[in-house]
């Protein structure tokens, strides 16, 4: 078991002929992910890394039985790609694309909420179920199968923590990057609920950052619903208020969304919070 993706995932790549899409398709196939095809409007009939390219998601689903989709399309067209995946009935949609305007995402979020699809991201590294499926851009070798669930708003910081876990002999069920944008398809609480329900996951790592209140909501959920131990790290303790730190959502606004308040809420919920991401493995022992 794992969450969201495993060896039964039949993955479609939207934007497969682009530079990023093509590169990461190869990486995902090499990892052992069951990539069944791709979509690029106007390029139907071509082949990329031995996988058929279709003009529309619907045609691709009809031909391949795909049940999950990953999107590498550019920001200006990524929302359209998400709508297309939702309407084709995809169970899982992972959007890697960075820089989607927030008002576009607000409409997407509303639309996805009324469907049966689960959206991960955008502006995220996707997810990795070690030994089974890589749906995204996380480097495969940093992870190994095990019983720790990892959920994070970040990219390289997540790799850092996952790699530290692996080196400490603590493998993972699934490593999930939910993205650092202000409006995202899947939040910490959704991910924590999935890990709590996953029988194979025994411990959970949460990596958050300044901005918004998703970590506070997570703390409330952990306190009231979680039986599994959680360790956390929150980035941005030294960030000044009112300034966006790279991620569109990483900003302290009106004095709210500070690392200090998030750390306090998580600590109060019984979460062990690290000062330094390198401490995470020892906090799970």
């Amino acid at each position: 078991m794992a969450i969201l993706a495993d060896k039964n995932t039949r993955l479609l790549v939207q934007g497969i002929t682009g530079r990023e899409g093509s590169f990461h398709t190869k990486q995902m196939i090499d990892y052992g992910t069951n990539v069944v095809g791709g979509v690029t409007p106007g390029k139907g009939g071509e082949w990329v890394h031995g996988k058929p390219v279709f003009d529309t998601v619907k045609k691709a689903v009809d031909a391949t039985g795909a049940n999950a989709s990953i999107i590498y399309a550019p920001a200006a067209v990524a929302p359209d790609a998400i709508y297309e995946a939702v309407d084709a009935g995809m169970n899982l949609i992972v959007c890697i694309t960075e820089g989607i305007p927030i008002l576009d995402m607000i409409k997407v979020y509303d639309y996805v909420k009324r469907s049966n699809s689960r959206l991960i991201g955008p502006n995220c590294p996707g997810l990795l179920t070690p030994g089974q499926a890589k749906v995204g851009i996380m480097p495969g070798y940093i992870a190994q199968p095990g019983n720790v669930g990892v959920v994070s708003k970040s990219g390289t910081l997540t790799y850092e923590v996952v790699y530290a876990l692996t080196q400490a002999g603590m493998g993972q069920t699934t490593c999930l990057g939910i993205g650092g944008d202000p409006v995202i398809g899947t939040n910490f609480v959704d991910a924590l609920r999935m890990f709590e329900d996953d029988p194979e996951t025994e411990k959970v790592v949460l990596i958050g950052e300044i901005g918004g209140r998703a970590e506070i909501d997570a703390a409330e959920f952990i306190q009231s619903h979680m039986t599994k131990p959680v360790a956390a790290f929150i980035a941005g303790k030294s960030a000044p208020p009112g300034t966006r730190m790279g991620h569109a959502g990483a900003i302290i606004e009106g004095g709210e969304g500070t690392a200090t308040e998030k750390i306090a809420a998580l600590t109060a919920a019984g979460v062990k919070v690290a000062d330094n991401p390198e401490q995470i493995p020892s906090l799970l022992k």
Partner: protein, 385 residues
């Protein structure tokens, strides 16, 4: 990206929100001409991207064109919160009966825009939220339907707006949402929306922040960016495709990934204590090619506070040996004696470290862990002080 008051209000007016029909002046002579044209008393308002303009003496009433000229000559060139005033807005003065706050932001938790209003206009909404939260009326907006008329009436009712103004208020509120959507704003505020002595509703001051990610489809708005309001390094970084924020510490940080960049800053503060901390946030993105590293290094070193530089790169898809070569090539282009610490982790980290060590650059040390790297960078910064 922040818009100036005059940019915001002129845009509001384009959509049909009533404003005072003033004009913008870059010299006191222009202010005189505008005041003469407007006939009657005017308000001369500093156009800088900072709050508290009034308190700083940047907003003044003038009864005559001569007075407007004199006031403008004082305001133009003055410094408000570190920003030099280059333009003033000369607006007809208005008789204010009461003031309202009306604004829109995106609520991240519900994933929708929210309109907020309070009868305490002229005050920052954060202050009202702290001191009198019940005074703020909120309406969540369906992104597909927009602000509905009944929601505007809910707000009018909530702030006890006299009935005679409801019709105009509804028009202003729904129009504000239209401007918000059409501008890809992340904040649009009328503060204050005033009821004048002769019973008109006027947007007296306005503020808009535009989503940087949406500027690709708003070239007209992108052209309005005031680069005076940001450190020159930030303008250079944007041009180089690097995400950079200037801070006040001594350790220049160069990192791949925003979360890791924040973490690296935090580590320098954790080990640096009260005196030593990060000089900047910098996310170099994926790849870390020599040209980009060189551009980033120039930007970091342009800050005279920088006493040491910390590179923290986690090689995922990018290999650390490639990154190491890129850094060495960049150091060849950008000569510096500032002490530097490099920490490479992930794919081919050992090969990367070997390349760095073999180069024998006297002011360049390598570190295996983030903790070690941060401590070394802190020590180097302390030693240099």
């Amino acid at each position: 990206m922040n818009l100036h008051e005059y940019q915001t209000k002129f845009r509001f007016a384009d959509f049909g929100i009533p404003i005072m029909r003033g004009k913008i002046a870059s010299t006191s002579q222009e202010a005189y001409e505008i005041a003469r044209e407007l006939r009657g008393p005017v308000v001369v308002k500093a156009q800088v991207l900072a709050g508290g303009r009034g308190k700083a003496g940047g907003v003044k009433l003038a009864q005559t064109p001569e007075e407007a000229e004199e006031v403008a000559s004082k305001i133009i060139g003055m410094t408000i919160k570190g920003l030099i005033v280059r333009k003033v807005l000369v607006d007809p003065a208005v008789n204010i009966a009461s003031e309202i706050y009306l604004g829109i932001v995106n609520d991240r938790t519900i994933g929708r825009p929210v309109m907020m209003a309070s009868s305490e206009g002229g005050v920052e909404i954060e202050q009202v939220a702290r001191e009198n939260p019940d005074a703020i009326i909120r309406e969540q907006i369906d992104p597909f339907l927009g602000l509905l008329d009944y929601q505007a009436r809910n707000i009018a009712s909530g702030i006890n707006l006299p009935h005679e103004h409801w019709k105009v208020f509804t028009k202003i509120a729904t129009t504000l949402f239209k401007v918000y959507m059409a501008s890809d704003a992340v904040l649009a505020e009328i503060n204050p929306l005033v009821i004048t002595g002769d019973n008109q509703l006027i947007a007296l001051d306005g503020k808009m922040i535009i989503d940087d990610n949406a500027l690709f489809r708003h070239t007209d708005l992108a052209d309005m960016r005031d680069t005076d309001a940001e450190p020159v390094e930030e303008t250079q970084a944007r041009a180089a495709g690097i995400s950079y924020v200037k801070l006040n510490g001594q350790i220049g940080c160069m990192v791949n990934g925003a979360g890791l960049a924040m973490t690296t800053m935090d580590m320098t503060k954790l080990y640096g204590g009260d005196d030593i901390g990060p000089a900047n946030f910098l996310d170099i993105g994926g790849g870390a090619q020599a040209a980009k590293v060189a551009a980033a290094l120039r930007i970091i070193l342009a800050d005279s506070n920088v006493k040491s530089v910390l590179f923290n790169i986690f090689g995922g898809i990018t290999r650390c040996d490639e990154v190491a070569r890129g850094i060495l090539q960049a150091l060849d282009e950008v000569k510096t004696t500032v002490p530097m610490v490099i920490r490479l982790a992930g794919t081919n980290a050992e090969e990367g470290r070997a390349i760095i060590d073999a180069a024998h650059i006297p002011n360049l040390a390598s570190a295996a862990t983030l903790t070690e790297a941060a401590k070394k960078a802190v020590d180097a910064a302390k030693g240099a002080q």
